[in-house]
């Protein structure tokens, strides 16, 4: 029993849970509305896009890579699908979602091939890709928003499950974006936990040489991770359109740092092999709660980014100190011979 508690405390997610709890308690004390169902759902809805994209990024980071082009992918998918919907009035949401996922996946494929077959460092390959995509989009759209999207996607974005009228007005319920976020999480979790593919990625991220020795195809696994990340970006992109009801090609400039920040805050190691869906979810919520909590706590905008930065530094330092302790203690947990 106490063993189990210890094990939970030792989990990499523990430090972020503690910090998250602190942030939540402080936010709640500053303003009780913070913990209301309504506010929680609002926070999740407006961070679902970040959360879905973070799932893809997680898989890439597990391979020891990084995907700077995630913002570009999101923008590209929103613009291309938005354009299609607007020009043709096409409104089959399932097809649109699939299309978004395919476009994202193709960009991911390009990234993956550059990284695995040309051995480009991931940060550079995807930085280059991001520059190219954003340049292309600006050139192509001139930054114009895409409006007048089919009513169907607008209605879809407003769906709330189990909804009932709110106290002040509007509907309070579980937003459809939360469901999509959940689906992305479960899919990623399932992939990483239950499929051989996912386990191979975890294995390779931990030790590439061993992976090769047991016959894993590192190149294909790496490529797949970027494709997966692209597909998640596609899913996130259409979800964004459903929330915003319009497309702003500039919406995702600089977005990559938010996504990477959330994943790493969630305990994933940039060196690969280590990280979890739960941790990433917590990382996303951490970002979301800090921003939401600070406004709810009525803290001036001018102070917000200072506080956010300090919290990031605190969390990662806390994590580091904990990790040091763990490695010092590491040989003490062991399997032992039974003896004759």
């Amino acid at each position: 029993m106490s063993n189990r508690v210890k094990q939970i405390l030792k989990a990499r997610e523990a430090s972020i849970v503690i910090m998250l709890a602190v942030v939540m308690v402080v936010a709640f004390l500053m303003n009780n509305t913070f913990l209301s169902f309504e506010n929680q759902m609002d926070v999740i809805k407006s961070n679902a896009v970040l959360g879905i994209a973070a799932m893809g990024m997680l898989v890439v980071i597990l391979t020891g890579g990084i995907d700077i082009s995630i913002g570009g992918q999101l923008a590209l998918v929103t613009v291309l699908t938005g354009q299609l919907m607007k020009e043709t009035g096409f409104d089959n949401l399932i097809v649109i979602y699939l299309l978004g996922i395919v476009i994202g996946g193709l960009i991911g494929l390009l990234n993956g091939l550059m990284i695995s077959h040309l051995s480009l460092p991931p940060i550079i390959a995807t930085l280059g890709m991001n520059t190219i995509i954003n340049g292309f989009l600006k050139y192509y759209t001139n930054g114009a928003w895409i409006n007048q999207l089919p009513q169907k996607i607008i209605d879809f974005g407003m769906i709330k499950l189990f909804s009932k009228p709110g106290e002040v007005g509007g509907q309070v319920g579980v937003p459809i974006q939360f469901i999509l976020f959940l689906v992305a999480m479960i899919l990623t979790w399932f992939m990483l936990r239950w499929t051989k593919l996912g386990r191979s990625i975890m294995a390779m991220g931990g030790n590439r040489v061993s992976a090769e020795r047991v016959g894993l195809n590192n190149k294909n696994l790496t490529t797949f991770a970027y494709v997966f990340s692209g597909m998640m970006a596609g899913l996130a992109a259409i979800t964004y359109t459903s929330i915003m009801k319009s497309v702003d090609p500039n919406a995702f400039i600089g977005y990559e740092m938010n996504v990477i920040g959330a994943v790493v805050l969630g305990g994933a190691l940039l060196s690969g092999g280590s990280g979890s869906v739960l941790g990433t979810f917590l990382g996303v919520m951490m970002f979301a709660y800090i921003s939401n909590g600070l406004t709810l706590a009525r803290i001036s905008t001018y102070w917000q980014s200072i506080i956010v930065g300090i919290i990031i530094l605190l969390v990662v330092s806390f994590d580091m100190v904990k990790l040091h302790r763990e490695t010092k203690r590491m040989t003490k947990v062991d399997i032992v011979p039974i003896g004759d």
Binding site: M114, L118, A125, G128, I132, G135, Y139, I306, G309
Partner: protein, 341 residues
């Protein structure tokens, strides 16, 4: 390799030796020359002019110095996302002081400027120490540390300025950014001096060698009696001082300081560093490589502006060149890359 040759080496020999020693630099030089030729053809009579080169001299310095600050950090296997925000934090504090002193009007312009510059560099050193502390002493991954400090530095800048610009420096201060000596921009001269100092420090001094060693294997370096915490801290301080100098040039050139100046430089500095041949994983790289990459990016940007090509195309081409140069590198030194894995 140590063959003794009686004849003094001819220039041709030297060139061949240079190529053997550093094919990467030669390749970059070829790209640079190719671009200059291309731009000269596309913008006849305008690109290949003294005026344009002077112009590029004005422009290059601030970014070039930032890129050097980034390179040294990357050589240790780290990264500095807070580079530009520390630059601006220093500049804003300095600008604030200079404006206040200038308005008080009791001091001579020169002493105001000296105080301004000193305060900018002081703030830079402090920023560097903060980064260095978290990276070297707490042991947090540089990317996370600097992501955090970037947000903090930027927040402080916003808090001081409330988002607006600070101006009203002594008139002579502008000279730093816009004056010339025998028609050579001061900024270019400063850039050259900074390059030489950086080259000297990184390639000629024990600290510089330690930078590479830490980049290769921090633990083994520490076990060799090197105070790697100090080395790393100094690296971040050096990086921040570079940012501070770039900040001085920027606020002088723009005659004002504001929280978001140069915001597009961070990613570009990373790109320039890697384009210049520094391994993003640390342990290798040369100051001259970064300088060469900055030159390439400058020619590209100025050239396209003069020709009148859409800025977005410049971005696309920059991305393509980055990927292309590194891919070519992969094919030419396949053996090396495989070994290093």
């Amino acid at each position: 390799m140590e063959k003794v040759n009686n004849n003094p080496p001819t220039i041709g020999d030297r060139v061949i030796q240079g190529i053997r020693k550093d094919p990467r630099m030669v390749f970059l030089a070829l790209v640079l020359i190719g671009l200059i030729v291309l731009m000269s053809i596309l913008a006849p009579g305008r690109f290949l002019t003294v005026r344009n080169f002077k112009n590029m001299g004005f422009q290059m310095a601030e970014f070039g110095i930032l890129a050097i600050g980034m390179s040294v950090v990357i050589m240790t296997g780290g990264i500095n996302l807070s580079l530009v925000s520390s630059s601006m934090l220093g500049a804003i504090v300095g600008a604030y002081l200079m404006r206040a002193l200038n308005q008080a009007g009791t001091m001579s312009d020169w002493s105001i400027i000296l105080i301004g510059i000193a305060s900018i560099l002081t703030v830079s050193v402090l920023c560097g120490l903060v980064n260095g502390f978290f990276v070297a002493y707490v042991g947090v991954v540089p990317m996370l540390v600097t992501l955090g400090t970037q947000t903090v530095f930027n927040g402080i800048s916003l808090n001081i300025t409330r988002g607006s610009g600070i101006s009203g420096f002594p008139k002579v201060f502008q000279k730093i950014g816009s004056g010339t000596l025998f028609d050579i921009p001061y900024t270019l001269l400063i850039y050259i001096v900074v390059i030489l100092i950086a080259w000297y420090l990184v390639q000629k001094t024990p600290w510089g060698v330690h930078v590479y060693m830490v980049g290769g294997n921090e633990k083994a370096t520490r076990y060799s009696g090197v105070n790697t915490k100090k080395v790393l801290t100094l690296v971040y301080v050096f990086s921040a001082v570079m940012a501070g100098i770039a900040g001085i040039l920027m606020i002088s050139r723009y005659n004002s300081a504001k929280a978001d100046y140069g915001s597009s430089y961070t990613m570009m500095a990373i790109a320039a560093t890697v384009l210049g041949g520094t391994d993003i994983n640390g342990g290798s790289g040369k100051v001259w490589g970064t300088v060469m990459a900055v030159l390439i990016l400058q020619v590209l940007s100025s050239g396209f502006n003069i020709i009148g090509i859409n800025r977005n195309i410049t971005d696309i081409v920059t991305g393509l060149i980055l990927i292309a140069v590194l891919s070519i590198n992969h094919f030419t030194s396949k053996e090396k890359i495989r070994k290093s894995k």
